[in-house]
Amino acid sequence: MGSSSGDLRYELSQNAYIKLVLHSLNHPTSAVNGVLIGRISPSNDAVLIDDAVPLFHSHLGLLPQLEISLMLIEEYFSAKGLNIVGYFHANERSDDYELGGVAKNIGDHICRYFPQAAILLLDNKKLEALKKSKDRSAVTQLYVRDASKNWKLVHSEGNNRFSLREPSANLMLLDYIASEKWQGIVDFDDHLDDISKDWLNPGLFN
């Protein structure tokens, strides 16, 4: 893990991507968040985001549920050789593009265990425009920490810094949205309210 965040690429798998966007659509009137699961690539030049776990849709700024969820999620995925490599956030208002204090704090916390962690912020305008735009890039913005540990937006047009692993990911996403697959998404909030609900969402991509 020799490269600093300044050089690393970030690659988002379809499953992680769709899960996170569907989660936000399931709770259109609140802010939501989630964690990104993955690993460093064998060539050491990229963070590969293989999966995601949707976390909460209320009281995002409270610690107890965050600590429990991170413990349980970390425990589950480390057995598979994967780590928590980042954080996803969708703001409450559709025109809010600010990376707020809660998101930055959680991002900082994750960086303590995985220094190259990234934050993905949902871009609502891009999501809304997706049906017509046929854009292949993700409807999320990427933030990484600079040398002074401040979160900075990464511009990835024209370079390779942030990409979707599967080029048809947006088509899949639109398909899932059309069939209202966001209705069944289980997040950690749902799990804590009823532990029989599975935050792994096993039936989602079958």
């Binding site: 009137t29 802010a31 209320s58 009281h59 995002l60 700024g61 409270l62 610690l63 107890p64 549920q65 600590e67 429990i68 413990m71 349980l72 425990e75 589950y76 409450e92 208002r93 025109d95 809010d96 707020g100 204090g101 809660v102 704090n105 799990h191 804590l192 309210d193 532990i195 029989s196 599975d198």
Partner: protein, 302 residues
């Protein structure tokens, strides 16, 4: 607050109606009674009644209530033309009505015409200065425009007049949490617990906020409120059980075994841990290994 029975009834009706069954009117009444935000479904099923002349006339005088309900739902889904049509019908039936006036102002809000909406609300308030709904719209408008400090100011002003409005205290508490202003959030939950001491959700929220604030005293108080939540919910609240474990562990890290209370604390924690493990074994067995490891790490550090 919605009871478990009401929730089950709602879910049953909702899936029934969604799958083409009957009971749309019953569903819409329940949503209205429980003050839920199911705007896409209200719009869909409400319109199916309103667009059907025989169903509509079968409602009798309730027809107008449905127009109002569908208008608001339409605005929430940004179907502004539908909303406009509903409001027109109501304007015709009830000219000079303050209630319809509120809907008109709400439509201005939905369009994003903030200044016009503010003017409309101000003039409505002149005639009825104690209209709670309009005061709350001011808060909502501030929030929608991203003016959170303004929303907080309006909400505090509102609560000075209507200090028994529990929903308002909850809203204020949530706004403070989203801004990481935990001390202020704690105050809101204290007000709620004072006025409704047997509602476990307030104890739980208060405990969560205190834990987030941190520090020995807050952690000890948080633990007390997690315990009271467990009491009030008959030991069934997963969050409170976890909360007790987290608190005990965090307290132990600060006091490092110098306090006598810790022996008792460890007992409560191991009880909570046992209840959690039993529950997971029964209802989420594939998640049990991670739970056991997590609980072990919490008890080891205490």
């Amino acid at each position: 607050m919605v009871t478990k029975t009401e929730e089950n009834q709602l879910n049953r009706l909702e899936s029934q109606v969604d799958n083409g069954g009957s009971g749309a009117w019953e569903y819409l009444c329940l949503v209205r009674k429980l003050k839920l935000r199911r705007s896409d479904k209200v719009l869909k099923h409400g319109l199916s009644i309103l667009n059907n002349p025989s169903k509509r006339s079968a409602l009798g005088p309730e027809e107008w209530t449905l127009y109002e309900q569908v208008a608001v739902a339409a605005m929430d889904c940004q179907s502004l033309d539908v909303a406009k049509d509903c409001i027109k019908v109501l304007q015709k039936k009830f000219p000079d009505s303050k209630r319809v006036g509120r809907l008109e102002a709400l439509l201005l809000e939905a369009k994003g015409s903030w200044e016009l909406a503010e003017k409309a609300y101000s003039s409505l308030l002149e005639d009825n200065p104690l209209d709670q709904t309009i005061h709350k719209r001011r808060v909502a408008m501030a929030k929608a425009q991203g003016n959170i400090p303004g929303a907080i100011e309006w909400l505090n002003k509102y609560l000075e007049i209507f200090m028994a409005d529990h929903d308002a205290w909850r809203e204020l508490g949530e706004i403070y949490v989203s801004l990481q202003m935990y001390k202020q959030a704690a105050f809101c939950y204290e007000e709620l617990i004072l006025s409704q001491p047997t509602v476990p959700l307030y104890h739980l929220a208060y405990a969560d906020v205190l834990y987030t604030l941190g520090g020995l005293e807050n952690l000890q108080t948080a633990k007390k409120y997690y315990t009271s939540t467990i009491d009030l919910t008959g030991g069934k609240n997963t969050r409170a059980l976890f909360g007790v474990c987290l608190c005990t562990s965090a307290i132990a890290q600060i006091t490092k075994g110098k306090s006598k209370e810790e022996k008792e604390g460890a007992q409560v924690q191991s009880l909570a841990a046992k209840v959690l493990e039993k529950d997971y074994k029964q209802r989420a067995p594939d998640k049990l290994p991670q739970l056991t490891t997590a609980l072990k790490s919490l008890t080891l550090s205490s």
